[in-house]
Symmetry: C2
Subunit: 318 residues, 2 copies
């Protein structure tokens, strides 16, 4: 659809060499090679979420994705895990040229990656961190709001007030994330001054994501108020309502300390819920836009729809 007004819109399309400024969020256990390749093939930017992958598994997903597309692919590397350097090495060895980093300081790896000729984007949740990322040399920032699924900033700034405040703070392009699930949200992001969007939950609910089928079904039947930002004393994370969520909420309301929450969380709950499909005891990382996500299209069908919705949403401004 080169006739869409979203085609090649803004600086991100040139930066990433993509057709539409629509970026798929890196999601643990959900965004493997298959999903990333499908998004890139449809003209967006597909991201392999390395957060849940040991270096070997990351290499496997990179091979898979590169076997499915010749278009640009990116890797998201949360900087809070122990194997960051090995993950970066694997991605560089496989020829990845676009890195999204998150959950850590942008100072540590940005200079190294820029020296290797890579495009670097850092995920931020406040205007201040966006400015620090720009100073560290990144090419763009993701500004992600409170309504986003999964790990989240402590400032609790929602996307609508966050984006213009970040845009006013930096000169580099800003990618809006959190609470965007259709073309109306993409249009709103541009109105706020963003140059593109990153969407997680919407891409989770597609044929190509590696989320467990039962988890996908739960998402498309969830109510708008069924997610909550929890585990704030650990790393805040937005979760879909289930038995684990209820336990975490109850403990938090009672003022539980870090140790108690850590004990409840244990290990492997994200994998248990999102990949293995234990809908009660697993961690189900989902954003507030889930109430708008009502089907499980292929990525290609979804992308065509997003572009069409964007054109419709902006028609009233002509």
């Amino acid at each position: 659809m080169p006739s869409s007004k979203l085609y090649k819109k803004g600086p991100l399309c040139q930066l990433f060499k993509i057709d539409y400024p629509i970026i798929q969020g890196g999601m643990v256990w959900v965004s493997g090679g298959k999903l990333a390749a499908a998004v890139s093939n449809a003209g967006g930017l597909g991201i392999i979420g390395a957060g849940s992958m040991k270096p070997d598994l990351l290499a496997h997903h990179l091979d898979k994705a590169q076997g499915l597309t010749n278009r640009p692919l990116a890797v998201n590397i949360p900087l809070l895990y122990s194997q960051v350097e090995e993950q970066i090495k694997v991605a560089l060895d496989k020829g990845i040229k676009i890195f999204f980093t998150s959950a850590g300081t942008p100072k540590k790896y940005t200079p190294f990656l820029k020296e290797k000729g890579c495009v670097v984007v850092h995920v931020t949740s406040t205007p201040e961190l966006a400015a620090k990322s720009e100073a560290a040399g990144v090419d763009a920032v993701v500004a992600e709001g409170f309504e986003a699924g999964g790990h989240n900033g402590r400032a609790e700034l929602a996307t609508l007030p966050l984006i213009p405040q970040v845009v006013d703070m930096v000169k580099i392009p800003v990618i809006a994330a959190g609470g965007i699930g259709d073309g109306r949200g993409i249009a709103a992001a541009f109105a706020l001054g963003a140059s593109g969007v990153q969407m997680g939950t919407r891409f989770l609910a597609t044929q190509e994501s590696s989320a467990h089928p039962k988890f996908k079904e739960l998402v498309i039947h969830s109510r708008p108020e069924d997610t909550r930002l929890l585990l704030k004393k650990l790393v805040p994370v937005r979760l879909l309502k289930n038995a684990f969520y209820q336990q975490a909420m109850q403990l938090e309301e009672q003022g539980a300390d870090v140790e108690t929450l850590q004990k409840l969380l244990g290990k492997g709950r994200a994998k248990l819920g999102m990949l293995e499909g234990d809908l009660e005891e697993g961690e189900l990382e989902v954003g507030q836009i889930s109430g708008l996500v009502r089907d499980l299209p292929t990525v290609e069908v979804l992308m065509q729809r997003l572009v069409k919705e964007y054109d419709q949403a902006t028609r009233s401004f002509e």
Copy 2:
């Protein structure tokens, strides 16, 4: 500025008989007759916030406003206080024809007010409550997100994901509130399908609001992350950081119960902070957009700026 694209845009301008679909939020201790009249004179809809007014004081503010403008004025009546019926009677006696109700069921007063020939708008925080409001016969809903200042819904839905989900749920016009402070936010609201916006914090920081001058100064120097939704076990309220906020946050993190929080809150803290200017011990109700609010213009100057910013923000969609 009848040449602006925002002039008479959408169904709210006809419903309220106003020039621009910009509505000033009803704010306790902040939106008296002077502010409301200034907003209506500038082509928006001014609202007298009755939540902090006994019937006599409300009558006084209505007289004042009506002495300052011949344009439409509205009253916001939170349904959680004890003198609701007297407040409604006073407003009707003074000829008010537009009622914004909030913090209670829309079923109770909507039929009565509609019978009196009034326009009724209910403030909602979930798509479900918006649908119930429509069923109760209101003419429009405000859909207010988590980022809004002051009293807030329990679902914690942020404005960006909330608006399209409400728009899909009802046929009546939707007014977006929470996190909007400039023309970019207004454009974003329209992109999401809203028919107008309600802004609180931005109108708080004007010459005509009755907020204490020291409070206004604090708002325009606050950082983006300086507000927090607190007192969730009572009525959730978004407050600006100060000594009271720190105490409330600490108690909440320790799991304090309703009685303890009620005792901390006591009585009259909103008046103490916002009207009397005790910036440490008072409740300072402010939204997340405060980080974008950097000056104290007159309402007339602000409205002209908002309209111009809207035109700029939508130019890229032409």
